[in-house]
Symmetry: C2
Subunit: 113 residues, 2 copies
């Protein structure tokens, strides 16, 4: 990236990684330490820390101030911003499914006649 | 990226760019050509084509078969997948706002006493 990313772009970019999404899923159950987070992923502490830095920069998590422990905590505001952006597109997939429903109903009617 | 991205990661990565989100916003009004898309962005055709390739690879758009025109069309299914993923986190920001509401109500009560 050559220019500083806007908040929404930073959130989308941070979410574009399955490990980071899994970390957020774990944090949605409660705050925890890097070593606790590393365990289920069979990842090193530094590898997890690197992912946490991306998530923190995007505002998706915050870190505690305790020198050793520094628990990571989910911050939901950027997820809400992302959802709000997607909300404008809801009618598009709802229309797609309505068209499919209409088509299936039509097939059903033909069968019954 | 060193490994092929999963569908959800590809969608998030494609959305992590303000120009690509603006292109999707334009396509949500109806399918259109590369030259039509390029106009409001003051971008070259090749620059728009590059963005369209990323969006197409992520399944967010499809392209028509007409050799010259090849209109781009919004495809909503990946946006639905992204929204479905975010839905699990809705209670987190709703809780945050509930706590804020509670705090504001408390302040209001104190004022009224």
């Amino acid at each position: 990236m050559t220019q500083p990313a806007d908040r929404l772009s930073a959130a989308f970019a941070a979410l574009a990684d399955p490990t980071r999404r899994a970390i957020l899923a774990r944090l949605s159950l409660g705050q925890t330490s890097v070593s606790e987070l590393a365990r289920p992923f069979a990842m090193s502490g530094p590898a997890v820390s690197k992912h946490l830095k991306v998530l923190e920069k995007a505002g998706l998590i915050s870190r505690g101030r305790e020198a050793q422990w520094r628990p990571a905590k989910l911050e939901a505001a950027p997820l809400k911003a992302v959802t709000d952006w997607l909300e404008d597109y809801r009618r598009h997939w709802e229309q797609s499914f309505d068209r499919l429903d209409g088509y299936l109903a039509e097939l059903q009617n033909k069968k019954e006649v």
